[in-house]
Amino acid sequence: MKRAAVALALILSVNAPFAALAQHGGSRPSGGGGGRPAGGGGGARPAAPAAPAARPAGGGFNFSGDTAARPAAPATRPQPAAPQPARPQPAQPQPTRPQPARPQPAPNPGGRPPGGNSGTRPPAPGTRPPSGRPPVAVRPPSYRPGPNWGWNHGVAWQPAPNYWGGGFWGSLALAAASAAIYGSIVAANDQTYTSYQVQPDSPGAILLQNYQLQQVPCGPPDLVVIYGPDNSVICTAPNTIVAPGYYNLDPTTLTIVSQ
């Protein structure tokens, strides 16, 4: 009995590591040489066709080219300047064109008076005109707001400062020459906010899809103007869900709120 117990235990203890190695081998990419113990060579192995690379003294990763000429980064990355709101604009449709009074083609959940947008940014939400009504969230029909970040499966969306609208509208960096410019909005302080094309599969594209909105170049009147993260702005044609006007977006719930 004693011997049987000891033998059983020893078998279990000896087999276990091999089971783990077998798992490693099963998940290893081809050509890797499964089961090789880690750490022996410091992890660095030059590929055959490439020149042998110098390993950093003391181990670790070799990013000498990226770190050699640069001072140590501060604890927090300095924020880049605001996304070039005063960027010179190519031929733009007259953003300050006077507006004819038009009847509202769609319900106005935001309660904004008719007249559309003239391309001039209204006062900030905090300084709403006296005649304005409280902001109203416009609920998209195809998305039921759940808990925060429910649209992102509960994962908080993290803005990336170097991307268009913090990445909300897509990956296009503002400096990208290939970024499709979609008109602009002139703010009350005469600053121009350039609008860029929303990239497919971006959170912003999901928002537009939920509201069944189609992006159009900013500038003409009677558009839906949505201000996004990082001083971003896009314009869409109004529809039966969203009336012309100015809106802020709430990325936590992926909804727009009238200003």
């Binding site: 004693k2 117990a5 000891v6 235990a9 020893l10 279990l12 203890s13 000896v14 276990a16 590591p17 783990a20 798992q23 099963g26 998940s27 290893r28 990419p29 890797g32 090789r36 880690a38 750490g39 410091g42 992890g43 660095a44 192995r45 030059p46 590929a47 490439a50 020149a51 042998p52 690379a53 110098a54 390993r55 950093p56 181990g59 990763f61 070799n62 990013f63 000498s64 080219g65 990226d66 770190t67 640069r70 140590a72 980064a73 990355r77 992102n152 499966h153 994962v155 969306w157 993290q158 803005p159 990336a160 400062p161 991307y163 913090g166 990445g167 909300f168 960096a173 599969d201 971006s202």
Partner: protein
């Protein structure tokens, strides 16, 4: 009698320790310098820290790539993050790596998924990443998440 059961218990605990250890640290990080030289780091550890950052640790535990502040969205069931903030922490110093462009894909499901418009698969709880720094370094990573830390 007691000695034999002590041995058996110790062996069982030892065995359980090995069996409980997941297949980990199997990530492969490839760094191609601007001059064309290449380092391939096998058995790197991939961990998610506080659900906010992904940390890739070198096999010798000296260096760590910290990937944070990415803009993430879902492509089907695949989490896709546009990289922006990557830091290198090693030898007691933390340095920023200026990412020019890059994407991180994370498969949080228990089944294999494919990258959009690609035949490349991402294993369950797998990670595929590629980015390019402003200096000209090209970095790629694939592996599976080895764990998460609060």
């Amino acid at each position: 009698m007691s000695r034999s059961w002590t041995l058996a218990l110790a062996a069982l605990i030892l065995g359980a320790t090995f069996t409980a250890r997941p297949a980990s640290a199997m990530g492969i990080l490839r760094v191609q310098q601007r001059d064309g030289s290449i380092q391939v780091y096998r058995n790197v550890t991939i961990r998610i820290v506080r659900a906010k950052a992904m940390v890739v640790t070198s096999p010798d535990h000296v260096g760590a790539l910290i990937i944070s502040n990415a803009a993430c969205s879902y492509v089907g069931d695949l989490l896709r993050c546009l990289l922006d903030d990557v830091k290198l922490r090693q030898h007691g110093a933390t340095k920023e790596l200026d990412v020019d462009d890059g994407t991180l894909y994370v498969n949080e499901t228990d089944g294999e998924l494919h990258l959009p418009l690609s035949s490349q698969g991402v294993k369950p709880h797998g990670v595929v990443m590629a980015y390019h720094t402003e200096h000209g370094t090209f970095v790629s990573l694939h592996g599976t998440i080895d764990g998460a830390a609060k």
